[in-house]
Symmetry: C2
Subunit: 282 residues, 2 copies
C-alpha cells in the first residue's frame, strides 16, 4: 500500500521510519528540499518532494497530515485543487480535534481525525526515531460520515506501530487533553510569570539561587515552546477556558483556606490531591 505523509518533522518522520519498516511505500512532502533529502537518506520515506502533487501522481491510498495544526486545512484545500482521488483516506496527527475535524470533514468527507499521544521535547526530521509510537495511545475521532472500513484501516496501521487505539468524539478528546496537557502549560507559565513580578532584587536573586527540583518540575511545561502554547490555546480555546475556570475556583478555595487559617480543610484538600494523583499516572 502507498501512503503519503505531509510534513516531515518529529511525528511525520518517525511515522515514516516505522511504516517503511512495515513494508509500506511511503511518499513524503516537505516545504524544504533539504528535509526531503534527509528523510530519504534516513529511510523515513521511499521518495520525498516539495510538491504536494507527488501524492496525486503516485496515487497514495492514505495521507497522514503531520504539519502544524494551522496548516492542516490549507493542505487539504490544496490537495483538492490538485484533483486528489476522492476515495483517498486523509487523517491528521494534530493535538486538537474539534476544530480540525469540523473544518476538514467539510472539505473532505473521507477524513478521520487522529492524535497519536507520543512525542519528545525535540522537533524536526533530525529528531525522528523508530518506535516513537510503541506503547502510546493513538486516538481516532471518527464522525458519523466516516466508513467503518476507513476507521479500521487507520486502527490497523496504529496497531502496527505498537500503539493502543482509543476511539472517542473530538469534543471528549479536546476536554481530556485540556486537563492534562493544555491547562498545565498555562498553570506553569503563570508560575514563572508571577516570580518575575518580585521587585525586590535581593529576594529574586535568592529565589533564583534556591530554586531546585520542585520549581524545576512545576515550571517545566510553562517554559516550553511558545508557538505550541499559542496553538493549543487558539485551537482548543473553549475547552482550555473551561478547565481554567475550574482551576481558578480550585486555586481560590485553597487561597481562602490559607487566608482563613482553616488548616484542617487545607490538609483535607492536600490529602485528597496526594491520594488521587496516582490515578493519572498509571
Amino acid at each position: 500500500m502507498k501512503i503519503g505523509i505531509v510534513g516531515l518533522g518529529l511525528i511525520g518522520g518517525s511515522l515514516g521510519l516505522d511504516l517503511c519498516d512495515q513494508g509500506f511505500s511511503i511518499f513524503g512532502v516537505s516545504r524544504q528540499e533539504k528535509t526531503c533529502r534527509k528523510a530519504e537518506k534516513i529511510g523515513a520515506v521511499n521518495r520525498a518532494d516539495v510538491r504536494l502533487s507527488l501524492l496525486v501522481e503516485v496515487a497514495v491510498e492514505i495521507i497522514f497530515i503531520c504539519t502544524p495544526i494551522d496548516k492542516i486545512v490549507s493542505t487539504i484545500e490544496e490537495l483538492k485543487t490538485l484533483d486528489l482521488n476522492p476515495e483517498t483516506l486523509i487523517t491528521d496527527v494534530g493535538s486538537v480535534k474539534s476544530f480540525v475535524v469540523r473544518e476538514c470533514s467539510k472539505l473532505w468527507p473521507n477524513f478521520v481525525g487522529g492524535h497519536p499521544m507520543a512525542g519528545t521535547e525535540k522537533k524536526g526530521i533530525e529528531a525522528a526515531q523508530k518506535g516513537l509510537f510503541a506503547g502510546a495511545t493513538y486516538i481516532l475521532t471518527p464522525d458519523s460520515k466516516n466508513s467503518a472500513e476507513a476507521v479500521d484501516k487507520l486502527s490497523n496501521i496504529a496497531e502496527l506501530l505498537g500503539s493502543t487505539v482509543s476511539i472517542c468524539s473530538p469534543q471528549i478528546h479536546d476536554r481530556a487533553v485540556a486537563w492534562i496537557s493544555h491547562l498545565p502549560v498555562i498553570v506553569s507559565a503563570s508560575l514563572i510569570d508571577a516570580c518575575l513580578h518580585e521587585h525586590d532584587s535581593e529576594v529574586l536573586r535568592l529565589a533564583q539561587q534556591l530554586a531546585s527540583s520542585g520549581f524545576r518540575d512545576t515550571s517545566r511545561v510553562g517554559g516550553g515552546n511558545p508557538e505550541l502554547g499559542v496553538m493549543m490555546a487558539r485551537y482548543n480555546r473553549q475547552e482550555l477556558l473551561r478547565s481554567l475556570a475550574q482551576y481558578r475556583q480550585s486555586l481560590d478555595r485553597l487561597i481562602e483556606q490559607i487566608e482563613q487559617e482553616d488548616w484542617r480543610k487545607l490538609e483535607e484538600n492536600l490529602k485528597q490531591t496526594q491520594g488521587v494523583r496516582h490515578q493519572f499516572l498509571a
Copy 2:
C-alpha cells in the same frame, strides 16, 4: 566539640553522619527509643536518648533543632526548664524563618536561624545519608542580637558539610522560598484538584489514560506530603499569600488574553516565560 541534635529524621540523621565523620562528638535526642538505637547503630550519633536532658548533662556547645517546625519553640522552652547553659548556641533547620526566629530569639538570645536547602523525598532516620548537604546552599538568618562569633561557628560547620553559606534576613528568606518552594505546592495541588471536578466520567477516564510527563511534572509537588504543605502554609502564611496574590494576577492576565484571543500578547508572554526560566535553574 560536643554538638547536640534534636530530631533524628532525614535532616538530623544526615547532619549527624557528616558531623561524626568530621570528628565532633554528637549527642542525639529522639522521642522514639528505636530511632535512638538506629542512629547509634548507623553512626549518626555517638550517643542518643529520648530525654532532652542528655544535652544538658553532657554540656553540648551547639544544638541543632531538626524537629518539624511546630516543635521548635516547645523544644527550646523545655531546654530552658532543664537549665541549659545560656551560652549554648541553638540553631534550627526549619524551612520558614520569620516565625521561628521571632519566637525563638525571645526565648533564647543565642539563637541563630538556619535552613540547609537540602533534602530528598524520603523521611526518617532510614533515609539519612552522608553528604546530603554537599553543594547545597545553607542559609543563616542572624538578627542584630547574635554575636559574630555565633554566626561564624555555624558558618564553619556548614562549610565543613560542603555547603555554601548564604546570610540574609528571615523575611528575605521567607519571600524567596515562598516563590520557589511554597507557591509551587499550591499551584500544583490546585491542578490536581481542578481535574477532580470533571464530572464527565468518559473525559476523566481518557484524561487519566492520556496524562504523561507534562501532567506528571506539573502535579508532582501538589501530590506531596500534606502535613508539610500545611506546615509551610501555616508558618509562612503572609509571604505565601503575597506570592499567591501575584500568581492569581498572572493567571488572570493569561486567561484574559485567551478569552480575548489576543494571540500576539499570549505569545509574547510565553516567550518571556520560556526565556527566563533558566535563570532559576542555574
